[in-house]
């Protein structure tokens, strides 16, 4: 189960909220202070991408963000509910002019994420896609009894 789960309407103004929540939970989980800026940026990029996909696809479902604190690592999973092209299928909006611009913006966001995060998985299926990112954590030092 996620430590914190966030669902928000696919609106640009909520992406900032997701960034703030993710950074706060990451800090508490023990992600290095020096990396928090990267967490904030990466989760913002992933949420921006999901919001864009939902809006362009006319999806009314919320964007889902899972913040998961595990032993020695912290994961963030940003999920969308947009049906993605599956191997052998036809990509949605294939051949449309606007699709090129959207694809460029999408790729820029993914380029930033992959440049920032070493451990990242992007998956897409017929029922939606997700970006999962992981960072190592430093366990809190326990005070001597």
């Amino acid at each position: 189960m996620a430590t914190v789960e966030l669902r928000f309407s696919a609106l640009p103004e909520h992406v900032r909220t997701a960034r703030l929540v993710a950074a706060a939970v990451a800090r508490r989980a023990g992600v290095d202070e020096a990396v928090l800026d990267e967490v904030r940026l990466a989760v913002g990029e992933a949420c921006t991408r999901a919001v864009g996909l939902h809006r362009n696809g006319g999806i009314t479902a919320p964007v889902k963000v899972l913040l998961i604190e595990e032993e020695k690592q912290f994961s963030i999973e940003v999920g969308d509910e947009v049906p993605h092209a599956v191997p052998g299928g036809h990509p949605p909006g294939d051949g449309a002019g606007d699709a090129d611009v959207e694809t460029e913006e999408d790729e820029m966001g993914l380029a930033v994420i992959s440049g920032l995060v070493d451990d990242v998985e992007v998956s897409a299926g017929a029922h939606g896609g997700s970006i999962r990112m992981r960072w190592p954590t430093t366990p809190p030092t326990t005070l001597p009894v």
């Binding site: 992406v15 900032r16 960034r19 940026l41 990029e45 921006t48 913006e105 930033v112 440049g115």
Partner: protein, 113 residues
């Protein structure tokens, strides 16, 4: 923090001072400002990003769009930025090769090419 924008003219250069967060929500305001300046005949822009707390790929896209617009009029778009966390995003995306990035407004205004 929301986005703050102000402009100032220095000779043939127009300084755009940006403050706050540039993301998917606020970037359209910056885009409108840059489009308006170019439409009004300001083709040599210096975007001062010293007050920017956060920049994402949407913001980068707006800056690239601004650069395309001024170049169509043989103009220029220079950036002023000393913040490592912002510079890192330009480096990751290879945009340090696209934008001249200066350490001060004075340096950017004095630069020719």
């Amino acid at each position: 923090m929301d986005l703050s924008l102000s402009t100032e003219t220095m000779g043939d250069r127009t300084i755009v001072r940006v403050g706050g967060e540039i993301d998917v929500y606020t970037a359209p305001k910056l885009r409108e400002q840059l489009v308006e300046l170019v439409n009004d005949g300001s083709f040599h822009l210096v975007v001062d990003m010293e007050g920017v707390d956060f920049l994402d790929s949407t913001g980068l896209g707006v800056l690239v769009g601004g650069l395309k617009r001024v170049r169509a009029h043989e103009g220029s778009l220079r950036l002023v930025c000393n913040q490592e966390r912002i510079l890192k995003i330009f480096r990751i995306t290879g945009l340090t090769k696209v934008f001249p990035i200066h350490t001060s407004v004075e340096e950017a205004v004095a630069a020719t090419d």
